[in-house]
């Protein structure tokens, strides 16, 4: 079952950690945001033991994609400064539309702008689904938006819901119009029940309203893919034998990244 990993590296030079996290988790498609490491250096590191990772080129400079499949199987069809949409066409498997994103940060965008970004992304996804003629779509990346914000939940946004049974309706009719649904498994990862972090990103400020932990790094799936979904997204806290959390249990922004990677498997 192919394994996908997304990690925002916060522009840190972490080629060895990337290799460890990719190799120790047997990753097939590695998607990186804020990656300042040169492609050559990262490929050299990834392929130290076995030369099976390839760079899958694209024009979106904010997203870098490496894969153990032939890179030609992961051709871009639509890109922008912040989005890379690719068709994954593997032999003997149904085609997937993989949408990889790094949306604007809350530091530089208002809540209204972030909502608009989600809405534009949702429309671009619908448009490309019409182009490829299917809805076997996953959206993965750093959205800089939490699952509960309007850009994610609203019908004119990504319309991503926390419940598989709701998502499996496929679409929802509001005010006489139908809106396609996504399933967002990341809702299940808030809080600290179990031995796991409370999100993928930690931010603390002396403000009256502060959530501390955020889940900006997410994966969304169209309902047609749920039968092949492993039902688990792992927020990784280790890269091989190297911890990605500091001694306070927060992302170790000094020695690793301020974001934690997410990993999931999908059969299709």
């Amino acid at each position: 079952m192919p394994r996908f990993l997304f990690w925002n590296l916060n522009n840190k030079p972490l080629p060895q950690l990337v290799k460890k996290v990719a190799r120790s988790n047997d990753v097939d498609i590695l998607v990186l945001a804020e990656c300042d490491i040169s492609i050559g250096q990262l490929l050299t590191e990834l392929n130290t033991e076995t030369p099976d990772f390839q760079f899958a080129p694209g024009q979106c400079e904010r997203i870098r994609v490496f894969t153990r499949f032939h890179s030609a199987f992961l051709a871009p069809i639509f890109e922008s400064d912040r989005i890379s949409m690719r068709r994954l066409r593997l032999p003997l498997r149904d085609e997937l539309l993989i949408v990889m994103v790094h949306l604007p940060s809350k530091m530089h965008s208002s809540a209204e702008s972030q909502r608009t970004e989600c809405s534009l992304l949702a429309r671009a996804v619908l448009e490309q689904e019409a182009t490829v003629g299917h809805k076997r779509t996953i959206v993965i990346g750093d959205f800089n938006t939490n699952p509960y914000e309007h850009g994610f939940v609203a019908t004119d946004g990504l319309h991503a819901v926390m419940s598989k049974s709701v998502a499996q309706r496929g679409k929802r009719r509001v005010s006489g119009r139908d809106f396609e649904l996504f399933y967002n498994p990341m809702w299940s990862y808030f809080g600290d029940v179990g031995n796991r972090p409370s999100g993928t990103y930690y931010y603390e400020k002396a403000e009256h309203v502060n959530y501390f932990w955020h889940i900006f790094d997410q994966v969304l799936l169209r309902p047609g893919l749920l039968s092949g979904f492993s039902d688990e997204v792992r927020i990784l806290t280790m890269a091989g034998d190297t911890p990605l959390l500091d001694r306070n249990g927060r992302p170790d922004a000094e020695n690793a990244s301020d974001h934690l990677p997410i990993l999931f498997s999908l059969d299709f």
């Binding site: 051709a75 639509f78 890109e79 004119d156």
Partner: protein
């Protein structure tokens, strides 16, 4: 016949405007690109309106030989019932047509746009 039917109540003899819609300007520039790239890279403008009353125009480079691959260079939006001010994707405020045209010229002639077109042309030839 009443004299009220013989008078022109309009304030002007003839209405004239130099204002062109942002989407017309964008479409014109999109149409010009193909000839400059031997049709290896063309451009298109996709527009849609939101329920909140905004219309968004997205300017995209298209590579026909790469399965119609599209790269969205930028987008601008304005109110459905007002052409200006328009807002660029980076939040820049474009108060009138002159500001819009000047901004568009800067974007289309920027190093990053030229680099992107060069890169797509090279891939289209490969």
């Amino acid at each position: 016949m009443s004299s009220a039917l013989n008078i022109d109540l309009w304030p002007k003899e003839k209405f004239e405007t130099d204002t062109v819609t942002p989407v017309s300007i964008l479409r014109r520039q999109a149409a010009l690109l193909g000839d400059k790239t031997q049709q290896l890279v063309t451009a298109e403008v996709a527009s849609d309106a939101t329920p909140s009353g905004h219309v968004t125009h997205r300017f995209r480079l298209v590579v026909p030989s790469l399965d119609n691959y599209k790269y969205e260079l930028f987008s601008v939006h304005h109110q459905v019932d007002e052409l200006y001010p328009a807002y660029a994707h980076d939040g820049r405020l474009l108060r009138d047509q002159d500001e819009f045209v000047n901004w568009l010229k800067r974007v289309l002639s920027s190093e990053s746009t030229i680099k992107k077109i060069d890169s797509l042309m090279a891939q289209a030839k490969a």
